[in-house]
């Protein structure tokens, strides 16, 4: 019997690129992308399959060291190692964006040592001004043209609207699913939620929409469990595309009820404005609105208010700050966000990792102590 709902999400999560490979076997072109600054809506509107490139924390980085320095974002190095060792050979194209130094540098190295028939970088300014928004908009125009060349057909405005609408529905459904975690205990665990989200990164939006509807129906049908009181936490920080760490936190008598990470709530907040000007909608959503610390947003700590508000809305008592080694944007913000959380009465725990989860037992001890302190 075909799997449905959360069971299907888990199978897709564990199967990683299986669905993308199936679509490739059906004759579809699959384009890998890193970071949301290159909107996947544009790829789908051209009939391509966007596949968000994942790392694999269980994959030891070996070959990448022949081409790239050891000091640098361990996630990006891991993805490149997967490419060098053949795990991404099913991709027809590669799209990266100037999200941070690591991605920008890796684009040059990746396209030199592992060239694909199609590769493109979307450039992204660091400051949000009218001029930089115009620049990003032009970048998206060039991206659209390149995608059209790869697809061998123009992207009609109608197709773009359809794609935007479909992605927006996935965001709305995701937020509905998130809202089911506001209850105490939440209807859905943090690990389950992340499995669904990561599964979605390897699917066409319409298939992700179907999956979300199945999961929503399943979770809504769950009886409200009386449950034991546990510490409720918000998980903030760098990219987290593996559920192990969230599972670990939840094994430590805590519940991850909300997050602020790019595959999670950060990438699902709001909708792309879909009016007469779809490219303007992307500028609003992916540039002006997307809360990645790589973008300069002034010096006022109120720029972290949204984290405090999310914690309050979801009843989180504490925040886990998950930081990858060598992540400059997050490491600068770390000092400030901690201070802001402290002023708001929210305790926080910093977990630093080199994208191997090798120090999981020491993390367990620290999480347990943190949870104990909160309760």
């Amino acid at each position: 019997m075909a799997l449905r709902g959360l069971a299907r999400a888990r199978a897709l999560y564990e199967g990683r690129d299986q669905r993308a490979r199936e679509l490739k076997a059906e004759g579809r072109k699959v384009v890998g992308y890193l970071c949301y600054f290159a909107p996947p809506e544009i790829l789908e509107a051209a009939g391509l399959v966007p596949y968000r490139i994942r790392g694999d924390v269980r994959h030891p980085v070996t070959r990448a060291d022949e081409y790239v320095e050891p000091y640098g974002c361990p996630f990006v190095r891991n993805t490149f190692d997967l490419a060098v060792t053949g795990r991404y050979d099913f991709l027809d194209g590669l799209v990266m964006s100037h999200a941070c130094d690591s991605v920008q540098r890796m684009y040059g190295i990746w396209t030199h040592y592992k060239p694909l028939a199609f590769s493109h970088m979307v450039n992204v300014p660091h400051t949000v001004t009218e001029a930089s928004e115009r620049f990003y908009r032009r970048e998206l125009g060039f991206f659209r043209e390149r995608v059209e060349q790869l697809a061998g057909r123009p992207i009609s405005d109608e197709a773009l609207h359809e794609s935007i609408a479909c992605y927006n529905r996935t965001r709305e459904l995701t937020r509905e699913l998130y809202a089911l975690r506001k209850s105490d205990p939440p209807r859905l665990s943090g690990a389950e939620m992340l499995e669904v989200l990561i599964a979605g990164t390897g699917l066409p939006a319409a298939e992700f929409e179907d999956l979300l509807r199945e999961v929503l129906a399943e979770v809504r049908a769950r009886a409200a469990a009386p449950g034991v009181k546990r510490a409720r936490l918000l998980f903030y920080g760098c990219i987290n595309d593996d559920v192990s760490l969230i599972r670990l936190v939840e094994e430590c008598s805590a519940r991850v009820v909300m997050d602020d990470t790019c595959i999670g709530a950060r990438g699902m907040a709001g909708t792309v404005p879909d009016g007469a000007d779809p490219m303007g909608g992307f500028v609003q959503y992916y540039f002006r609105g997307f809360q990645c610390p790589r973008t300069y947003r002034g010096t006022d700590l109120s720029r972290f208010d949204y984290v405090v508000e999310a914690a309050r809305e979801y009843g989180a008592q504490g925040v886990i700050l998950y930081i990858l080694s060598f992540c400059d944007p997050h490491k600068f913000d770390l000092v400030e966000v901690r201070r802001h959380l402290e002023q708001a009465g929210l305790a926080s725990l910093v977990l630093e990792d080199d994208y191997t989860l090798a120090n999981v037992e020491s993390m367990r001890t620290r999480i347990q102590a943190f949870v104990e302190m909160l309760s």
Binding site: E69, Y71, D101, S102, T299, D328, K331
Partner: protein, 443 residues
């Protein structure tokens, strides 16, 4: 052996740098209490600052000075104690430690070299080159010095951009022009006076001369024996290039340097008496230990070329509209660099006068500079510059040239392991010599 020492300069002009570059080295004497003063990042075009007659300090340069004077480690540690990771740029940590100490004491810390930094009234940053640069002044302003911040945000074309496409050119020039105009507007607003356009034009004219002179000096360094090594470039070339581009003092200084280097070439005088290894330097130098280059000189090694603060070829510009001339110069230089292979260059479109050479150019240097090897300094806290060294090492291997990568940091001397590093260097030089002997036997 080195054990952290300052460089012994070879060229008279470099030895006279402090005296010849008075507008920089004597700036503290001209400061007026309460007058506007900007802390600036390298890469903010100094010509524009000159057109406003704005007093400036450069915390990156201050990091190198603190490193050379042995106080950077303490300041970095202080920043780390306040939560700033040791992974972060040591220039940044040095400045945060300094400001934290300044605020604690209510005055310039007594250990600060050269009387510390002047009191800032604004922070002028840049989004070019690396992520820490866009975050640095954000942290300084939000946590320590609540001052107005302005960042220019020039964008660089990726290595595979079609830079000959007029649409791409217009795309990049537009944002560069707009961000520079925003900078001018910010300064006019903050200072309450207009930019002096004539002064900007004169500064750009001076900068053209400076770039041409540096280009000539870099070409003269191809000579055997090598007339100028990296120790002289780093001690005597970086300040006037990065912080004084556009000033007349810098032109006269580089003219004098060019003449001295040219004279050495004519007379066949080299940096070291027995030149046995000609090496390329890649990376930021260990500012706290520039004597390291002299130690290598004692082993017969000289550095006729370096990839850091590379000035590149001069380009022609029309100075009738000086701000647009700055845009044009910046774009043309970026195009020139991109054509030489920019796949591992951080960002090559910066309105300052320096960048990094492209991959194919470095391969060409093997022949132009008759290189025997390359020494690459992997700076843990500056990944922006370190990333790409392995790629260049791979490229040089194809030219038959070996490379050594060693690890340390540019401003944090705690990462310098002298015995290990010097052992690596000696082993590397012996390997070059052995390879040479083997090739001689085979022929």
């Amino acid at each position: 052996m080195t054990e952290l020492r300052r460089a012994t300069k070879s060229l008279d002009t470099v030895r006279r740098a402090r005296e010849m570059l008075g507008s920089y080295y004597k700036r503290a004497e001209r400061r007026r209490e309460g007058a506007p003063l900007a802390w600036c990042m390298a890469g903010v075009p100094s010509e524009v600052l000159q057109a406003f007659d704005l007093s400036c300090e450069w915390p990156e340069n201050f990091g190198t000075v603190c490193a050379a004077r042995g106080v950077a480690a303490e300041l970095c540690e202080r920043a780390e104690g306040e939560g700033y990771s040791q992974d972060l740029c040591s220039y940044v940590r040095n400045s945060i430690g300094y400001v934290s100490r300044l605020l604690e004491l209510g005055q310039v810390p007594p250990e600060a070299p050269r009387g510390g930094l002047g009191t800032a009234t604004m922070l002028l940053g840049s989004g070019a080159l690396c992520d820490p640069r866009i975050k640095w002044f954000q942290s300084l302003s939000s946590q320590y010095l609540p001052l107005p911040v302005f960042h220019i945000d020039p964008m660089s074309p990726p290595h595979d951009s079609h830079v000959d496409d007029p649409r791409i050119e217009a795309h990049y020039k537009e944002i560069l022009s707009e961000t520079l105009h925003e900078q001018v507007a910010f300064l006019e607003r903050t200072l309450g006076r207009p930019m002096d356009t004539e002064r900007l034009r004169a500064a750009l004219g001076n900068a053209q001369e400076t770039i041409a002179l540096l280009w000539e000096i870099q070409s003269l360094r191809r000579a055997v024996p090598c007339p100028m090594g990296s120790e002289d470039f780093f001690t005597g070339g970086v300040v006037p290039l990065l912080f004084m581009l556009g000033e007349r003092d810098a032109v006269e200084y580089f003219r004098c340097l060019r003449d001295e280097v040219r004279d050495r070439v004519a007379r066949g005088v080299g940096v070291i008496p027995d030149e046995r290894f000609r090496l390329l330097w890649m990376g930021i130098p260990p500012w706290y230990n520039l004597g390291f280059f002299n130690s290598l000189g004692e082993l017969g090694a000289v550095f006729p070329a370096e990839t850091s603060y590379y000035v590149g070829a001069p380009v022609e510009i029309d100075l009738s509209d000086p701000l647009e001339a700055l845009v044009d110069r910046t774009w043309k230089r970026a195009v020139w660099i991109t054509r030489w292979g920019a796949e591992v260059i951080p960002e090559n479109l910066s309105p300052s006068g320096f960048s990094q050479p492209g991959t194919r150019l470095i391969r060409q240097w093997v022949h132009d500079y008759r290189l025997d090897g390359a020494v690459m300094h992997r700076t843990r806290s500056c990944r922006a510059v370190s990333w790409g060294q392995i790629h260049i090492k791979n490229q040089l291997e194809e030219e038959g040239i070996p490379s050594l990568i060693f690890e340390s940091d540019m401003a944090d001397p705690r990462s310098w392991a002298d015995t290990i590093i010097m052992g690596q260097i000696q082993g590397f030089l012996e390997a070059i010599a052995a390879g040479r002997r083997e090739r001689a036997r085979a022929s």
